[in-house]
Symmetry: C2
Subunit: 88 residues, 2 copies
């Protein structure tokens, strides 16, 4: 499946979250990642994220998933942040 | 069409960008918006965003679009930021 992941978490935890997400997905902007991922690996990622996140401090994670990236078109305006975009 | 919009822009321009995006889409997290929008209105939004953005300062806007939200599943972990989510 293809996912877009965005997080909004406390500064102290951003480093850990970034590292975790990079293990599973490609970074495309600030706190936004995308990529192909299996359901099992996505569950792993979510479990890992839940360990990092502090819900009492309003940390938030949103995952959009689609069966395939063919249902999604991506348009970038301005600076392209990620070098991995070249491979998509 | 259904879009997910994420921006990463300089602090000075965030207020204007937030206001612009709110006119067209629903705010769901930090710098993330989503919603149904016509192609014409999306073009309007992009033109408006380009006027606000400073590319020389690395401002960036990414728009994922899909023909319909039925191709996308949304999962929220942690705090739900937007009140409009209740209506989705």
């Amino acid at each position: 499946m293809y996912v877009i992941l965005v997080y909004d978490i406390g500064e102290k935890r951003v480093g850990k979250m970034l590292k975790l997400c990079r293990k599973y997905l490609s970074w495309i902007q600030n706190s936004v990642f995308e990529g192909d991922i299996t359901e099992v690996r996505l569950k792993e990622l979510i479990l890992g994220a839940e360990k990092i996140m502090k819900k009492e401090e309003d940390d938030s994670l949103i995952i959009f998933s689609s069966r395939s990236d063919k249902f999604l078109e991506k348009q970038i305006i301005g600076k392209e942040r990620s070098s991995t975009d070249n491979f998509l």
